[in-house]
């Protein structure tokens, strides 16, 4: 369940884009940027305001990989799985991250510090393998660099 305060914030965003063409895309970004995810509890509010069915709202959110319907950990680590990174050993890096954090893709560590996600190209293919840590892209990533990232984020 979302809190009263979250509901107010979502309603604020809903009102902001009411007259905006193609509103759902910027609206969902606004909600996710603010709250960290798009709560399913907000679908009814959105559907009423935009004259859509709840199914349509759900269909929209679930179509796009970027949108999440559950909170992520404090940090999101995205490991690129696309061809260029594969050619430079991303498969091993992927496995290293999973082992190190003890989670699979789309999962969050128990301490809620890290969420691990796959990503398909960060446009950093000249510096493969690449990962994105929160909003920061890193290139020529080694297991040591991953260790450092995790260490700097305040975990043993």
């Amino acid at each position: 369940m979302i809190s009263e305060q979250e509901k107010k914030r979502i309603e604020h965003h809903i009102n902001l884009f009411l007259d905006y063409p193609g509103a759902l895309l910027p609206l969902m970004h606004a909600i996710q940027d603010d709250i960290g995810y798009i709560p399913e509890d907000s679908y009814l509010l959105i559907s009423k305001a935009y004259n859509l069915s709840v199914a349509e709202v759900h269909g929209f959110v679930s179509f796009y990989h970027h949108f999440r319907t559950h909170p992520s950990g404090k940090h999101v680590l995205q490991v690129c799985r696309a061809e260029s990174c594969q050619s430079m050993g991303s498969e091993k890096l992927e496995k290293y991250c999973k082992d190190k954090l003890g989670i699979d893709f789309h999962e969050t560590t128990k301490d809620n510090l890290f969420t691990l996600e796959p990503v398909y190209c960060l446009g950093n293919c000249a510096c493969s393998p690449a990962v994105m840590f929160d909003e920061e892209v890193l290139g020529r990533v080694t297991p040591e660099k991953i260790d450092q990232l995790i260490l700097n984020s305040g975990i043993k």
Binding site: L25, F60, F63, Y120, L122, N124, A126
Partner: protein, 513 residues
Amino acid sequence: MTYKIYIPRDSSAISLGANDVFNEILKESKERNLDVSIIRNGSRGIFWLEPMIEVETPKGRVAYGPISLLDVAGLFDQEFYLGKKHSLFLGLTEEISWLKNQERLTYARVGVTDPVDIDDYEKHDGFRGLKKSISLSQEEIVKEVTESGLRGRGGAAFPTGIKWKTVMDTPSTKKYIVCNADEGDSGTFSDRMIMENDPFVLIEGMIIAAMAVGADQGYIYLRSEYPNAQLILNEAIEIANQKGYLGSNILGSKFSFTLEVSRAAGAYICGEETSLLESLEGKRGLVRYKPPLPAIEGLYGKPTVVNNVISLATIPIIMDKGAKYYADFGMGRSKGTLPIQLAGNLKQTGLIEKAFGITLRELLYDFGGGSASGRPIKAVQVGGPLGAFLPESQFDTPLDYEKFTEIKAVVGHGGIVAFDDTADMSKLARYSFEFCALESCGKCTPCRIGSTRGMEVIDKIRQGVDQDKNVDTLRDLSETMVHGSLCAMGGMTPFPVMSALNFFPKDFGLDKK
């Protein structure tokens, strides 16, 4: 005196530590009481030398790279700010052979200027194409673009001038210019480089496009994986608005154009133009039937130009220097230049803008310097995840749309990913289906179901189960996907799969045959 130092702000340079180098140089110069002015320029695209910094000298800019944090103090000791020699000294930037052997037209300013300094842009021939276009009629602009031979650089290679003419000739009170900046193909980063390193050239190209077809509104549909590009584009758009290049009565003319960035949400299929339009309209990115063409019924049913970043960013130089100047580069029906992106397992990766006609071998060995691992290059994938894998025997193919079609490959968006001999091509073929299953919009059955079935069939072949029968099934399935899919996602996924199967049967365990 003030020493002028250039440190790039391109995402790839930053991903290798350019921001840390910037902070360290700032700190060190303060401690040494040196008056330095640091310009955050774009990257020259020589990513194997990034972070590469430059210093202005009376003879021109000289470069140093790749710089790590540990090199900074030593650079100051050697007085690099005077352009003096150091073990990382690369000489005059313009003379670096990697750069010197290119033909930079679209990327003329990339790495040279400060991306968000509009005066710098104007000083380097910026807005000359726009100023020329303002004095021309719509027909004259479209004619110039058509005669330049420019073809859609997103991958489909459709003649840009013809697309514009269709939109121009379709009567409507509302028309749109949509820039496809959903650069999702692995091995490509040329769009990102334009948006981060020379955003005004894209803005200028979009204004000219709008004038040519009679549009007054534009969107840049930008992938969500490019937050840095979004910041820079928004900053550039605001500056262009303030300076009167966007908004009402542009440069005193009767023409008005508003432009905004729309942030995508991580669906590869939205790089397909009709799916992109659906997404921009706030819907699921389901591919539309064609016809009607977006040029006739596009965004909100109105005539719409949908062009890739590079196509639009190439318009200013065509309008400035003329169609003939541009068309004189290239070969056959592939006119002009292509930004080629060398990626993957190569020693020297980065962006090379070159006239069409250069061979893969020249790119991989002369520019690329061979594989990064030192092992033989086994295959390259050209044109993103839907492009064929090319074996060594095809490395002499010149980069040309038609020559690539002849060998069932695509130039696409110009991305080249190299693999060394440790790559398992059957695994990569399986990945092609896996990616298609993940990213299919789901509208057509061959793409939605075929991708998953394809994965299973490849698994069986790799396990040695009924190989003859399953190879037949795989070929049959691929053919169905090619002919039975609405768009390139399902229609081209078989390209990498079939090329892997045909050229590398051993990797599928078919060596006995």
